[in-house]
Every structure is written in C-alpha cells, then in structure tokens.
C-alpha cells in the first residue's frame, strides 16, 4: 500500500487491476455458463409456431392491419410472457441435468445504460424499417432489434455466442425481408429457433473451450 503525506493508505494499483480482472472474469464466466438458455428457448418457439399454425385454421386474416394491430400486439405480449415462463422452467432443468447449477447467474443489468441501449437499438431498428419503407412488417422488427442488441452485448461481455446469435438474427431478418409478408411471418419463429440452436451449440463449445483454458492455466 502506498502511504500519502496524511498517513492514509491508498489502494495499490496492482490491487485495483486485480479486482478489475476478477470482476471481468466473473462476469464472462457467469455469461458463458448460461449457454443452455438458447437451447431452452427452442421448444417454446416451436410451440408458438404450432399455435400460430392452429390459429391459422380459424378465420383470422393473414396480414395484420387496421383494427387487428392492437390485438396482434396484445397477443404477442401474452405469448412472449408464456414463452419466457416455459423457457425459464426448461432452462432450470437443463442446468441441473448438465451440472451447471453450481455456476452463478450473471446479475441482470437494470442500469440506465442498459435501458438506453435497449431503447437505442429499438429506435435504430424502427429507423431502418422506416428508411426501407417496411414499417408495416411488425414481426420482422424482432430479429433486427435482437440482432443489433446482441452484437453490442457480445462486444460488451466478450462472449462469442452472443455475436453468433446477433449475426444469425440479422441474417434471418435480411432473408425474410425479401420474402412476401405472409410467408415471412410464418417462417420467422422457426428461423429464430434455428438461430438459437446454432447459438446453443456454439455456446457449449465456447464453454468447454473456456474450461479447458482454465484447466491448462492452473
């Protein structure tokens, strides 16, 4: 410890660096161990697709317009809520089955910066859709927003699977934007399920590679 002329003890620069390294390492490790979340989201996505397919048999118009828009968003919000609950339940079971429950979960970021990031990427998404004259393609806002958000998350956390997810979502978005609207809507969720599956596989590989590196370092 360095001592000032007042006789106080100041933090050693090495202690600061060590604590900073420990924080970064713990954050990365906590994020890496969460890879089964991408696998957990696949069944709810496919289930919702099936639900849409069943609903299609009811006399509901293919394209969402006019009076249907509020109902569409309400339905989407409800479905997202249910899918999130199901995902959480599957994730818990998967972590237990894969012996990952002893690894900590990262602390959710509710900071002003996190909200600014979420709203910022959403505004960016809406601006891109507006520039392309495709604001009517509501459902395709999801992969573009998720893709750009996850690319920033990858840069912040240095977790590769987030980059894979981000690129995958943007790829899905660009492919579906070229398709006719009804076809794109029906293909959206299965495409996202495929992206999540690939992300999970990458995440698993990244996690095992990280553990091997740790073992070698010891």
């Amino acid at each position: 410890m360095a001592v000032t002329d007042q006789g106080d003890r100041s933090p050693e620069p090495e202690t600061v660096k060590k604590a900073l390294r420990l924080r970064r390492h713990t954050r990365r490790l906590a994020h890496l161990s969460q890879w089964p979340i991408h696998l957990s989201v696949v069944p709810p996505l496919l289930l919702v697709t099936l639900l849409f397919w069943l609903l299609r048999r009811l006399p509901i118009p293919d394209t969402v317009s006019g009076d249907w828009i509020p109902l569409f968003w309400l339905g989407i919000a409800l479905l997202i809520g249910l899918a999130a609950l199901l995902t959480r339940a599957i994730h818990r079971r998967l972590r237990r089955a894969l012996h990952l429950e002893t690894w900590p979960t990262p602390r959710p970021d509710f900071s002003l910066r996190a909200f600014a990031l979420a709203f910022g990427t959403l505004a960016f998404t809406l601006a891109v859709h507006a520039l392309l004259g495709r604001l009517d393609r509501h459902a395709l806002i999801i992969p573009f927003w998720l893709g750009s958000h996850q690319l920033i998350a990858a840069w912040e956390t240095r977790v590769e699977r987030y980059a894979v997810q981000g690129v995958g979502c943007l790829l899905v978005w660009s492919l579906l934007m070229r398709m006719p609207a009804p076809q794109a809507s029906w293909l959206l969720l299965p495409s996202l399920a495929l992206v999540e599956l690939v992300t999970a596989l990458w995440g698993r590989w990244e996690w095992h590679r990280f553990q091997r590196e740790q073992a070698d370092a010891r």
Binding site: D8, R9, P11, T15, A19, L22, R23, P104
Partner: protein, 113 residues
Amino acid sequence: MLAKDLARLDRLVHEPARLAIMAVLAEVDEAEFSFLLRQTGLTKGNLVSHLRVLEEAGFIFTRKVPVGSRKRTLISLTNLGRDTFAAYWRRMLRWSQHFADKPPQTDAPSTDD
C-alpha cells in the same frame, strides 16, 4: 480532494481478500461458497472469517439450500453491500486514474543495501 476521497474509503472493503470477495459477488446474483473459494484463491478458513466480517457489517447475506443429503451455501450482496461496493469502486477507479497519471512514490528508502 483526492486525500479527502481517500479518507472516505471503506476500510472494511479495502482489505484485499474482502475486496476480491465483493468484486466477485458484485457481478452475480448469488454465488456458491465453493465458487467463491475457486475465484478468490483464498483458503477455506480465510474465506469463512472474511465472510463473517462482511456478514456482521450487513454487506452480505448467506442462505443454505438443501441438495439431497448435503447443503449448498449461497452468498449474495445485500443492498447495503452493493451500494457500499459501488461507492468504493468509484473512488478506487479515481485513484487508479490518479496513479496512471502520476506513478506513486516509494513509501520509504530501501534498507536492503
């Protein structure tokens, strides 16, 4: 200004082992005892004694969860612990910036030779 800042540094958090424990806990919801042991590199006895100090200060909360016939000890930062650590961290970063600008002087002349 910096000297005043220094005087306000929380001595309880300032100790390197406790700083390491709180740095790990700040990044996660809650952590298992064995995880903390691995991450901080402390011995079991050392970790237990530092955790006790932090718990008495109200900075951490420990709970035991039964898993089969065994019990897992989960440790998390309390709101007070998070606020204290955040304040400490801000001051610490200011100090590290200060050191980066001006390398610290040696405490006393070397007596080795």
